[in-house]
Symmetry: C2
Subunit: 191 residues, 2 copies
């Protein structure tokens, strides 16, 4: 599959509105089958994903969002909830068979939480890039009540919400004017 740098970086824009064009479930499976290859620490792969696309689940999620993000979730055909499994290390014997690394995390909640947060964020970025590679527009959001999303979607699990991302065909008339980025010298240095 061929892509362009424009499609995943330079031309892609964060969407604030979506057209009523459905996303088939098979597209979401395809999305996971791409993003799963992105690297994580010790292949720990702590991210868990819920693809919200029924009217009932969407209503539940809308109620957890900040006012400014409610309409985006209401419009989007799918919103992905990107969570982090705080028991991800239970899977390490399968995911990292090269040596025994599960013990690094047992009883070390600070390391477990930072590893889950960092690496599920990496995987959330892979989701954004992979979606764009599949011509799905993205509207990532972190303005919501995380405890409410946890309760509405992850009850009875060891997963906590990291961020959410609307997916679908974006309405380019609702995109913000493109914001400036930091210049190289403001963000980077050589050593």
């Amino acid at each position: 599959m061929n892509l362009s740098v424009g499609q995943i970086f330079t031309e892609a824009r964060t969407q604030n509105g979506f057209f009523d064009v459905p996303v088939p479930d098979e597209r979401l499976v395809q999305l996971y089958e791409l993003l799963k290859w992105g690297p994580t620490s010790l292949n720990s792969s702590p991210a868990r994903f819920i693809f919200v696309r029924t009217p009932e689940a969407r209503r539940r999620l809308v109620q957890c969002m900040s006012p400014g993000n409610m309409e985006k979730v209401r419009q989007a055909p799918v919103t992905a909830i990107i969570g982090m499994d705080l028991s991800f290390h239970e899977r390490l014997p399968k995911l990292f068979p090269h040596r025994d690394v599960k013990g690094l995390f047992d009883g070390n909640s600070a390391l477990t939480e930072s590893t889950a947060f960092r690496n599920s964020s990496l995987q959330g970025a892979y989701l954004i890039i992979a979606a764009r590679a599949l011509n799905l527009d993205c509207g990532p959001m972190s303005g919501f009540d995380a405890a409410k999303v946890d309760e509405a979607f992850w009850t009875g699990t060891s997963v906590r919400t990291n961020f959410v991302c609307a997916l679908g065909k974006g309405d380019s008339s609702k995109v913000f004017p493109r914001s400036p980025r930091l210049a190289f010298d403001e963000a980077c240095a050589f050593a």
Copy 2:
């Protein structure tokens, strides 16, 4: 610029060794000029990057790494330190001119830290993908003494280290056998 999904996801591999092939500084500028377009919350862009490529700086960084990661940093022509600026919100009036959002973070260190950690991690993932798009192989690592890296590279700043990533031409003979990923049903659900 054309790429393939193989190049950025399905065929790309985490490198454990690097050939002695230099990476020109202009390539690293090009790398930043791509990754900077990846989306962050409120365009906050909290990541800061140091590209370590002199023998002296490399020696300093090697001394901060876990034993298993020392040789990787020693071999790689460049290792990027991905940091997070805990005063990123000072730049929001420039980065997010649409409305006044700096005040959300003033005096709220929990929100500031989680926003810096999440979004600098996203930007670290964009660095990995953008490097692969530019045919630079990656060796991301989080096994190091973060306090030591902070002291050796970010003293006198509000930046703290998130993770590091070796960059260059990877030695494919040192790549691990590919580890399994979680199946769709293990990592994902529909709602």
